[in-house]
């Protein structure tokens, strides 16, 4: 029925099957949308946040999707600036994932703020000293970049491409994509960093605060670096998932191996920096403020040392090691383990840098604050996932996302 829209030569599942799948995911989406409207109309009392947890699940989700969405800017940087041409075979998908992540982040922010209709004050009345201001500016600008990067792919749709203007526009945009990608990398560097800076500058919070370079605390650089390192893991993970769902190989192994290798080396270098940062913070920064490391990890079973070890060793050192070693990297199972661990690792890092900061008491007579999100918070956090699935499904079905798809899935000529 919709075959006119499907990329030429590509094989897609029948429309009814596709529709059923979409309907199921849409139900989840609607649940999230319902919760979103509850939050908008009734206010944030719908959440389990409180005055100790001004930042909670949503801010974590924001940071996490932006971190894993970092695959877009980093792949773009590698492809357009460092001219690693193989990556053209995955760049479209990286951009779509990035687009989903960043639009989700903006949506969550619009729910998370107490006065969504005044959200634009962050631009209009900007305080340039606030990390959050930098986040807002660079995030929105970078979202514009992602949109620009996504547009040519949309215009390459079989029907759209028939329109000469769209055809030319897509072509022209490809031509100057390097400039957009460079701008995107510049913006990403700052907003990823600023998101790290959000925590690092809170000098009232010894668990968060870091020393740094000029106005930028070390978390600024660690966040950028980790997004660049782990973002590609997520890109690979989503690619792998898409391949599993569609039952097709979509990207050639050499491309996957290359991205995995780059990601691996990024993770290794990041994790070394992270270990140094953690050690310096634990041995110098926190003690100078009167805190032992044990203060942050021994009160309750949730925020224990296990979290630190999981984040740095299990989800940092291990995937790094797997991905930089040729034999393990090229073993599909181990690679899958590594990219899953890597994705978990960066999400856990963002969790720690948002929620554990809020949980740790600072005044000696204050107590730990633990928090369990409300269903409205969970639903609105699941919403972007559902939205992402739907967008990927549509993109995959109707856009030439994977240049190698046809080559890899040629129907063998039937020998007569």
């Amino acid at each position: 029925m919709d075959s006119a829209l499907i990329p030429e030569g590509a094989k897609r599942c029948p429309l009814p099957k596709f529709s059923i799948g979409i309907a199921i995911v849409s139900a989840v989406l609607l649940w999230g949308v319902y919760a979103m409207f509850l939050c908008w109309f009734k206010g944030l009392n719908q959440t389990n946040m409180n005055d100790y947890y001004g930042f909670a699940l949503w801010i974590w989700a924001d940071l996490a999707v932006i971190a894993v969405g970092g695959g877009a800017f980093f792949t773009g940087l590698l492809k357009y600036i460092f001219k690693i041409d193989e990556l053209k075979n995955i760049i479209n998908f990286a951009v779509i994932i990035g687009f989903i992540c960043y639009s989700s982040a903006l949506l969550i922010l619009a729910i998370d703020i107490g006065q969504p209709l005044r959200g634009w004050f962050i631009f209009w009345h900007a305080n340039v000293h606030s990390m959050l201001t930098e986040v807002a500016f660079c995030l929105s600008a970078y979202f514009a970049v992602l949109t620009i990067e996504f547009i040519p792919n949309i215009l390459e749709n079989r029907q759209a491409n028939k329109v000469p203007f769209f055809h030319h526009l897509a072509h022209n945009m490809h031509g100057v994509m390097a400039i957009f990608a460079a701008t995107g990398a510049f913006l990403s560097f700052f907003h990823q960093g600023s998101l790290g800076g959000v925590a690092g500058v809170m000098y009232g919070r010894p668990f968060a605060v870091r020393e740094g370079l000029l106005v930028w605390p070390w978390t600024f650089f660690l966040f950028t670096w980790s997004a660049a390192a782990y973002g590609p893991c997520f890109t690979l993970l989503v690619t792998k998932t898409t391949e599993a769902i569609t039952g097709k190989k979509l990207v050639k192994d050499n491309v996957i191996h290359l991205l995995a290798k780059i990601s691996g080396w990024m993770i290794v270098t990041y994790i070394i920096a992270k270990i140094i940062d953690t050690a310096y913070w634990a041995m110098v920064t926190a003690p100078s403020l009167g805190f032992n490391l044990s203060h942050f990890y021994t009160d309750n079973s949730f925020y224990g040392y296990w979290m630190l070890i999981t984040e740095i060793v299990i989800c940092g050192v291990v995937p790094g090691a797997i991905l930089i070693t040729k034999s393990t990297r090229e073993n599909p199972k181990l690679r899958l383990v590594a990219i899953i661990l890597g994705t978990i690792g960066v999400c856990l890092n963002r969790w720690v840098m948002v929620l554990q900061i809020m949980a740790v008491p600072v005044m000696s007579f204050d107590t730990w604050a633990l928090y369990i999100p409300s269903w409205q918070e969970i639903a609105t956090t699941v919403l972007p996932v559902a939205y992402g699935v739907i967008l990927i499904a549509f993109a995959y079905r109707y856009l030439p996302v994977f240049p190698q798809e046809q080559e890899l899935n040629q129907v063998k000529p039937v020998t007569e």
Binding site: G43, L44, A126, P287, S364
Partner: protein, 288 residues
């Protein structure tokens, strides 16, 4: 970007005598009544109960019968930030300049109509002095008639906090203008609602920069930075006086006074053995 802080300006501050404080709650209620703070059916979840002035209960954790208890009222600490340059933990992070540092008063303001409720300031404040309006403020039928026009009630979705009763400062300033002495607000003309309400007289409020003011005389703030921590300024030279979390370099303008050593120790965090080493140096007039 070091700004000239408090030169020929006021620096309003407070000292609270914890030995006099009885934990009676007058300051809390006076604050709520003065500043149109709402209330809701259940206020027992103290993590979402708006109390600009909150009274903490501190204990020495000793077993019966050696247990001791002290109450600690905690308004907004009106931090001067590192080096007392006005970059308070909350002010420096607010993305929309909805909270600002008054270099002429030392008071951290909050503009409710500007705030869009991102709550970054709440995360940045280690004192939990900032409160979010999770609910629309609602009063039982007719009760909104007691609301004071001096402070606007806050709408849902914005952050609020103690302002050192800034409207009282404005009134005092207007009075000083009217008397043709615009640069000199009298000590008794500007007192916060908690100060005047305290039945034990435990709170003393005034201009920390003015040697004639009682608060200055009690606190005796050291004009020089702390030699042990360059971020700390205005440390009290009275060894019985401390500030909350002074080591973080937030430079609060709320000082606490206690004769009890364990109380002073709880004002900050110390590694093992650290307190024993520094308690004797604590607040000493090293130079000046």
């Amino acid at each position: 970007m070091v700004q000239e802080n408090h030169n020929s300006a006021y620096k309003f501050g407070m000292v609270i005598d914890l030995d006099k404080c009885t934990g009676c709650g007058s300051c809390m209620v006076s604050c709520m009544a003065e500043n149109n703070v709402p209330f809701k059916e259940d206020e027992t979840n103290k993590k979402d109960s708006i109390t600009w002035m909150r009274v903490y209960k501190l204990t020495n954790d000793k077993p019966f019968p050696d247990t001791e208890v002290v109450y600690m009222p905690r308004p907004c600490q009106q931090c001067g930030g590192k080096g007392d340059h006005g970059h308070s933990p909350c002010v420096s992070v607010c993305p929309a300049v909805a909270t600002d540092y008054g270099y002429d008063t030392g008071i951290v303001s909050q503009i409710y109509t500007r705030c869009f409720g991102c709550r970054y300031c709440m995360g940045a404040c280690p004192y939990h002095a900032r409160y979010f309006n999770w609910w629309d403020p609602k009063w039982p039928e007719g009760m909104e008639k007691y609301l004071s026009p001096n402070v606007s009630p806050r709408m849902r979705g914005v952050v609020e906090k103690c302002s050192f009763c800034y409207h009282r400062y404005q009134a005092a300033r207007d009075k000083a203008y009217a008397h043709g002495n615009k640069d000199h607000i009298k000590e008794e003309d500007y007192q916060t609602a908690c100060t005047t309400a305290c039945p034990a007289g435990a709170i003393v409020f005034g201009d920390l920069n003015n040697p004639a003011h009682e608060v200055h005389q009690i606190v005796k703030p050291d004009p020089h930075p702390d030699p042990r921590n360059k971020h700390v300024a205005g440390k009290s030279r009275n060894p019985k006086i401390f500030r909350l979390l002074e080591r973080l370099g937030t430079n609060p303008k709320v000082y606490y006074l206690s004769e009890r050593e364990w109380v002073r120790k709880q004002g900050d965090n110390y590694l093992e053995g650290e307190w024993e080493k520094i308690k004797n140096h604590h607040g000493k007039a090293s130079h000046g």
